[in-house]
């Protein structure tokens, strides 16, 4: 079983290829999501892909106070939702 971070990174790569986006290298913890190379359609696809892979969508299931800005914040939201499953 891959860890959550790796699953998210794999899904990002997959979505980038599918949506003709190019991810920045490397995506670090403090990299801004809007500077990773995915646009809003790309993020929507990423969340949909992760819902397939993981079985949950934190943006629908959790009452998130603020949207994530960085990769670390994005990961933390998925971690929180995974812990609640």
């Amino acid at each position: 079983m891959l860890n959550l971070e790796q699953q998210i990174r794999d899904a990002m790569q997959q979505v980038a290829e599918l949506s003709d986006c190019k991810l920045v290298e490397p995506v670090k913890s403090d990299t801004l999501l809007l500077e990773c190379g995915l646009d809003s359609l790309g993020y929507a696809m990423l969340v949909a892909q992760l819902e397939e892979d993981l079985g949950f969508d934190p943006f629908t299931e959790l009452a998130i106070d603020t949207y994530p800005s960085t990769f670390a914040e994005f990961l933390a939201i998925y971690q929180l939702c995974a812990d609640n499953q």
Binding site: L34, S40, L41, A44, D65, T66, Y67, S69
Partner: protein, 430 residues
């Protein structure tokens, strides 16, 4: 009803438009519009196809043409319009046949009675459909006040579409400033919004989510927040309310076809069910047996929409709604049209592309809900015989990439055994 130029001239103050880093005073745009009228007498009382170039030129042309030309077609870039007797604007210098011997007209003395403004929506076949509006109907909700005059609006929508034009007219007619950031990425947009001290923003819920993702939205001092073009969900409304508790938070329902809409100001998704059958509202509303929202504007609906209109004058918006606990919530389009962050996708168009793949026998394209962008396009396909599923999917994606806009491409294609049809043989879109 006064034309746009007359209303602007009569305002106590007018604002400044900033586009591509350049500032243009509306008073100067009025002068330029007057020059256009004088130097191009051949456009007087003619039909104009206004091709979008940039915001300043676009607004100058609107000021020049309203009340002066008989019809204005607001053409998105790359949308051509095939109709005779249309003068294209900006005039191509190579084909300009301005007759310099024609005496310039006095630009204020011979206005046409009223100008029809035509806006396009993309039709099922991809061909644009044009709907007429008037300056009166388009500016019905705009007003001037000394408070509104101090605002600085950001334009995040394309101004030749209904929502964008509303922002442009609101800013112009209230004497406020307007900053065009429509063509930039969210982080660049935020930089412009901060630099210009923008105080009023109108955007789709998806655009608002992107601005929220920048983590910088709280650095603005917003007093007017408007959401439109997509269904506004409670989650995005709540986030904006938390960031800007004293701002006026409004979400707008608009029908480009009917040229009307209404505004919800209580910060809650949907609208109060008591508005249904309330005839004192500017737009009368009811829900049909099929759970479609019906609207009846105070002005006459254009002929094209007659078949969508019942004997009492209510037009079927084809938006499906559900009433829960005294609130009317929007569910989506009855036509199956998918709204990807404000961009409309006709499933039939995507299905036709998928069916061009030799190994695909049936295709059904539909929406998948997305908390990020409203809806995503997904597709089910059935494949012929023993074709390799993975190869067919790859072929289908490739075909879609070549022939569709990015937001129209299915984000997921699933191979299924069977696709349901109605007894009439049509795809079951429910």
């Amino acid at each position: 009803m006064q034309s746009l130029i007359h209303q602007l001239i009569n305002l106590p103050t007018t604002g400044v438009i900033t586009s591509s880093g350049e500032h243009g005073k509306v008073t100067d745009l009025i002068k330029n519009a007057d020059q256009i009228r004088q130097h191009h007498p051949q456009i007087h009382q003619h039909k104009i196809a206004l091709q979008y170039t940039n915001l300043t030129q676009f607004v100058t042309a609107l000021i020049a043409f309203d009340g002066w030309c008989s019809e204005i077609y607001l053409c998105p870039p790359n949308v051509s319009i095939s109709q005779n007797q249309l003068i294209k604007w900006p005039i191509d210098v190579d084909t300009d046949n301005t007759d310099l011997s024609v005496k310039p007209l006095n630009s204020t003395s011979s206005d046409v009675a009223h100008t029809s403004w035509y806006m396009s929506t993309s039709g099922t076949t991809g061909e644009p459909r044009w709907y007429p509006h008037t300056f009166l109907s388009l500016s019905a909700s705009t007003k001037y006040s000394s408070r509104l005059q101090t605002l600085c609006w950001a334009l995040l929508y394309q101004p030749f579409r209904f929502a964008g034009l509303q922002v442009v007219l609101q800013a112009l007619l209230s004497g406020a400033d307007l900053v065009d950031v429509a063509d930039y990425e969210p982080l660049a947009q935020m930089a412009f919004l901060k630099h210009a001290d923008v105080t009023a923003v109108s955007a789709t819920p998806s655009l608002w989510r992107q601005l929220l993702m920048t983590g910088q939205l709280s650095e603005l001092t917003l007093s007017h927040i408007t959401l439109g073009g997509e269904i506004a969900d409670q989650s995005v409304l709540d986030k904006l309310k938390r960031l800007f508790p004293s701002a006026k938070l409004r979400h707008i329902y608009a029908s480009t076809e009917a040229g009307v809409g209404f505004v919800v100001v209580d910060g809650r998704a949907g609208f109060p069910a008591e508005w249904l059958e309330d005839t004192s509202l500017p737009v009368a509303l009811k829900v049909s047996d099929k759970q479609h929202l019906l609207i009846k504007p105070s002005h006459q609906i254009c002929q094209t929409l007659a078949q969508q209109t019942d004997v009492q004058g209510y037009m079927d918006t084809l938006d499906t709604v559900q009433i829960i606990d005294g609130r009317v919530f929007f569910l989506g389009r009855a036509t199956g049209t998918i709204n990807v962050g404000g961009s409309k996708v006709h499933p039939e168009k995507v299905e036709q592309i998928l069916l061009q793949c030799a190994d695909i026998s049936q295709a059904k394209v539909y929406a998948k809900k997305s908390a990020i962008i409203g809806e995503l396009v997904v597709a089910d396909i059935t494949i012929i015989g023993s074709a390799n599923q993975q190869n067919v999917k790859q072929q289908a994606f490739k075909m879609c990439k070549n022939k569709l806009q990015r937001y129209e491409i299915p984000t997921k294609i699933s191979v299924v055994n069977n696709i349901a049809h109605d007894p009439s043989g049509k795809l079951n879109r429910k």
